[in-house]
C-alpha cells in the first residue's frame, strides 16, 4: 500500500441526509473496512457544506475534490478511486451549468469562491459529533483566552469594538446588549441562545447548530463569563431533532473536557448549558415570549412599556438573549481580535452575513458573504442566476417581517441599514428569489396567512388586523378585489404597525407594503382586469388569454 492518505468528508446535514447521505456514509465505511484501507483512507461525517441542493456532497481532502449528487451505487467506485492508482471520478464533479465544464475542486466553483466563510468555516469540515475535531481546529482556545487573559470588561470591550450586530429588528449592537446585561443589578443571570429560527425559508441557524455546535456553545460560555451568568439555555425549535441531538452530544463532550460545569478549566468560573426544545410557535422567537415559554407558560410577548430582557428576563433575572450566529461569531472575535472583525464588511455593518439562498435561483444553499456585497453578486454570481431562462422579479429577505425588493435594487449593497431603507430587513437570514412566475399578491397573501396564524392573539390590531388584511388579499387573488382595496390595505398597515404591542404585529404589514410599493401594477391587474400576470392565482388564469397585455409578454 502506498503512503497516500486521504480523508473522505461526507456531509450529514439534514439536506444531504434526505438524499441518502447516511446510507452512503455507512456504505463507505463498510467498503473501506472490507478492502482493509483503514490505514490510508479516513471516512468522516461533517455538518452542512452549504450546497444543499447538490447533495449528497462528498469532499476528498487533501485535494479538496468535490463530488455532488452522490448515490449509494457510486460508493464502490469512489473507494476504488482512492487507491494509489485511482483517478477522481469526473462524472461526479460539479459541472458548470453554463459552460458544461467539470470543476473538480470546490474552491473553484462559483457558488463557493465569492463567499467568505468565517462563521461557517467549520461547517462541512469537521465532525460535529467529535470534540477532538473541533479542538484540532483551535476550538475552545478563545474560551481559554477570555478566561485567563481577559477580564469580563475586556471581553465586552472587544465585542463592542468589533461592531457585531444582532439580527433581531434593526441589528442591535451586540456589545451594548452585553454591557447592559453585565451592569444590570442582580446576582443571578442567564444566557439564552435563540435557536428558534421561526422564519420560514431560513435554515442557517439549523445548519450552524448541526454542523458546528461547539462554536455556539463556546460563544455562550464566553458570554456567561462576560456578563456574570452561571447558566445558559439553547432554545431549539421543535422541528430540528438533528440539531438537538448534535447539541446534546456537544454539551456532554464539553463537560467531559472541562469546558462546561464547575470550575471551568480551573479558572474558578462555573457555567452550564441546558437545551430547551420549543413546541412550535413562531412568536416564541420574540425575547419576552421565549422567556415565558422556558418558564412553562404560553409564549405571549409582554406589553410595552416593559423592562428589557437584559434587565428582567428569565424568572425576572437579567438575561442575555442572542441568536445562534451571534454566539458563533464570538470565538472568532476573541481569537482574532476586534480589528480583524471590523476590517470586514461596511462602515456600519461589520463582518459577514449568512443567508439561506433559496427559491427561483440555480444554486440554492447556505452562504456566507461579506456585508456590502450586492444582491446581484449574491443572486447571479453565487446563486448562478434564475433557472430556465426566466426573468428575475424580486428577492424577499427578512421573512414575514421583511419585504420584497425588485430588480432596481439588484445593485444595492447588502447590509442592515440599506435593507431597512429599502423597506425590508436582514432578519434571520432567509433570502428567497422570485422569478416572473411568482405572483407578488399571492406572496403578500402567503405572508399574511402566516402572521395571522402565528399571532399570539392578545392584542387586537395584530389579531384582527392581520386577519382583515389576509381576507382582502385573499379576495384580490380570487378576483373579488375592489378598487379601494389598495388604500384600505395601506391604512390597515399603518394601524397595525402603530397599534400592535410586539414586533410580530409591528412588522407584519411589511411584505404587503413592499409589494404594493414596488409591484402596484400587479395588484391593479388583479383588481381592475381580474388577471394574474404571473399566472399563479387560479381563478384569474383563465382571463389571461383575453388580456391585451399577454400579447406583449415574452
Amino acid at each position: 500500500m502506498s503512503n497516500r492518505r486521504c480523508t473522505v468528508l461526507i456531509c450529514q446535514g439534514t439536506g444531504c441526509i434526505s438524499g441518502g447521505a447516511e446510507q452512503i456514509f455507512s456504505s463507505l465505511e463498510e467498503e473501506v473496512t472490507r478492502l482493509n484501507l483503514g490505514e490510508s483512507v479516513q471516512i468522516k461525517r461533517t455538518g452542512c457544506h452549504g450546497f444543499c441542493q447538490r447533495g449528497p456532497l462528498i469532499v476528498i481532502e487533501p485535494e479538496s475534490i468535490f463530488y455532488s449528487k452522490v448515490k449509494l451505487d457510486d460508493v464502490p467506485e469512489i473507494v476504488q478511486s482512492l487507491l494509489p492508482e485511482g483517478k477522481p471520478l469526473e462524472r461526479l464533479f460539479y459541472h458548470d451549468p453554463v459552460t458544461g465544464k467539470p470543476i473538480p475542486h470546490y474552491g473553484d466553483i462559483p457558488f463557493y469562491n465569492k463567499q467568505e466563510r468565517t462563521v461557517l468555516r467549520n461547517c462541512g469540515h469537521i465532525d460535529p459529533e467529535d470534540i477532538g475535531d473541533f479542538l484540532a481546529v483551535g476550538g475552545y482556545e478563545a474560551l481559554r483566552k477570555a478566561l485567563f487573559d481577559m477580564t469580563p470588561e475586556q471581553v465586552i470591550e472587544e465585542v463592542k469594538h468589533s461592531g457585531l450586530r444582532g439580527l433581531g429588528g434593526a441589528g442591535f449592537p451586540t456589545g451594548r446588549k452585553w454591557e447592559a446585561c453585565r451592569v444590570a443589578p442582580g446576582e443571578e443571570k442567564y444566557i439564552i441562545c435563540n435557536g428558534d429560527e421561526g422564519d420560514p425559508g431560513a435554515f442557517q441557524d439549523r445548519s450552524t447548530m448541526e454542523g458546528d455546535p461547539h462554536s455556539v456553545l463556546e460563544g455562550m460560555i464566553i458570554a456567561g463569563y462576560a456578563i456574570g451568568a452561571k447558566k445558559g439555555f439553547v432554545y431549539v425549535r421543535a422541528e430540528y431533532p438533528l440539531a438537538v441531538k448534535r447539541l446534546k452530544i456537544a454539551i456532554t463532550q464539553a463537560r467531559e473536557e472541562g469546558f462546561l460545569g464547575k470550575d471551568i478549566l480551573g479558572s474558578g468560573f462555573d457555567f452550564d448549558i441546558e437545551i430547551f426544545q420549543g413546541a412550535g410557535a413562531f412568536v416564541c422567537g420574540e425575547s419576552t415570549a421565549l422567556v415565558l415559554s422556558i418558564q412553562g407558560k404560553r409564549g405571549m410577548p409582554k406589553p410595552l412599556p416593559r423592562p428589557r430582557t437584559a434587565e428582567a428576563g428569565l424568572w425576572d433575572k437579567p438575561t442575555l438573549l442572542n441568536n445562534v450566529k451571534t454566539f458563533a461569531n464570538i470565538p472568532l472575535i476573541i481569537n482574532r481580535g476586534w480589528k480583524w472583525f471590523a476590517s470586514r464588511g461596511t462602515e456600519k455593518s461589520k463582518g459577514t452575513a449568512i443567508f439561506s439562498l433559496t427559491g427561483k435561483v440555480a444554486n440554492c444553499g447556505l452562504i456566507e458573504v461579506p456585508m456590502g456585497i450586492t444582491l446581484r453578486e449574491v443572486i447571479y454570481d453565487i446563486g448562478g442566476g434564475i433557472p430556465g431562462g426566466k426573468a428575475f422579479k424580486a428577492v424577499q429577505t427578512g421573512g414575514p417581517s421583511g419585504g420584497c425588493l425588485p430588480a432596481s435594487f439588484l445593485d444595492m449593497p447588502v447590509d442592515f441599514d440599506s435593507l431597512i431603507t429599502a423597506g425590508s430587513m436582514m432578519g434571520s437570514g432567509g433570502m428567497v428569489v422570485m422569478d416572473e412566475d411568482t405572483c407578488m399578491v399571492d406572496v403578500a397573501r402567503y405572508f399574511l396567512d402566516f402572521t395571522r396564524r402565528e399571532s399570539c392573539g392578545q392584542c387586537i390590531p395584530c389579531r384582527l388586523g392581520t386577519e382583515q388584511m389576509f381576507e382582502i388579499l385573499d379576495d384580490i387573488t380570487k378576483g373579488q378585489g375592489r378598487p379601494e382595496d389598495i388604500e384600505l390595505l395601506l391604512e390597515l398597515s399603518d394601524a397595525i404597525i402603530h397599534g400592535s404591542l410586539c414586533a410580530l404585529g409591528k412588522t407584519a404589514p411589511n411584505p404587503v407594503l413592499t409589494t404594493i410599493r414596488y409591484f402596484r401594477g400587479e395588484y391593479e391587474a388583479h383588481i381592475d382586469e381580474k388577471w394574474c400576470p404571473a399566472g399563479v392565482c387560479r381563478e384569474l388564469i383563465k382571463e389571461k388569454g383575453s388580456s391585451p397585455e399577454t400579447v406583449g409578454r415574452k
Binding site: 439534514t14 435554515f203 422541528e239 410557535a281 433559496t358 402567503y446
Partner: protein
C-alpha cells in the same frame, strides 16, 4: 400499563412549573398525543389547574389531542416551498391519501399536517414522512411516493 408509563415519565421530573412543556413533550412522544387523563395527572403533579395545562397545550402547534397516523405526513408551507408549488403538492397528497390537512385516515395509516418550514429550503418543495425528508417534489413524485409507500406497507 399506561398508568405505569405515565408514572415513569413524571418520576423523572421535579414537578416545577417549568417542567410543564418538557413533560407534555415526553407524554406526547410516548403516547402519540396528549390523553385527557394524562393532562389531569400532569396538572396535579405540578399543582396547577387543569385548564392551565390545557391552555399551554393548545397554544403550541406541536401538541395534539388526537392520535397521529402511522405515517405522519408534514407538508412544508414555508416561503421557498410555497413559491415552488407547495400548495399543489399538498392538494395532490390530499387527493391520493384521501384526507385534508389536519385529518387522520380512519385506519390510522396516514395523518396529514402542514408546518411553517422544515428547514430544508434548498430542496424546496419538501415534505416529511415521520422523520424522513423528501425534497424537490413535483405533484407526480408526490403521487409516486404515496402509491409506492402504500404498496410497501402490508
Amino acid at each position: 400499563m399506561k398508568e405505569e408509563l405515565l408514572r415513569r415519565i413524571l418520576s423523572s421530573y421535579k414537578g416545577r412549573r417549568e417542567d410543564l412543556i418538557p413533560i407534555l413533550q415526553a407524554v406526547q412522544a410516548n403516547f402519540g398525543r396528549l390523553p385527557e387523563e394524562a393532562m389531569l395527572r400532569i396538572a396535579r403533579f405540578i399543582g396547577i389547574p387543569e385548564s392551565e395545562v390545557y391552555s399551554v397545550a393548545s397554544f403550541y402547534t406541536q401538541f395534539r389531542l388526537t392520535p397521529l397516523g402511522r405515517k405522519h405526513v408534514t407538508v412544508c408551507r414555508g416561503t421557498a416551498c410555497h413559491i415552488r408549488s407547495a400548495p399543489q403538492i399538498l392538494q395532490e397528497i390530499e387527493k391520493v391519501v384521501g384526507i385534508e390537512e389536519g385529518e387522520v385516515t380512519p385506519d390510522l395509516e396516514y395523518s396529514l399536517e402542514t408546518v411553517a418550514c422544515i428547514g430544508c429550503c434548498a430542496l424546496a418543495p419538501c415534505i416529511r414522512i415521520n422523520r424522513d425528508v423528501y425534497g424537490e417534489l413535483t405533484p407526480e413524485r408526490a403521487r409516486e411516493l404515496f402509491s409506492t409507500s402504500k404498496q410497501m406497507s402490508p
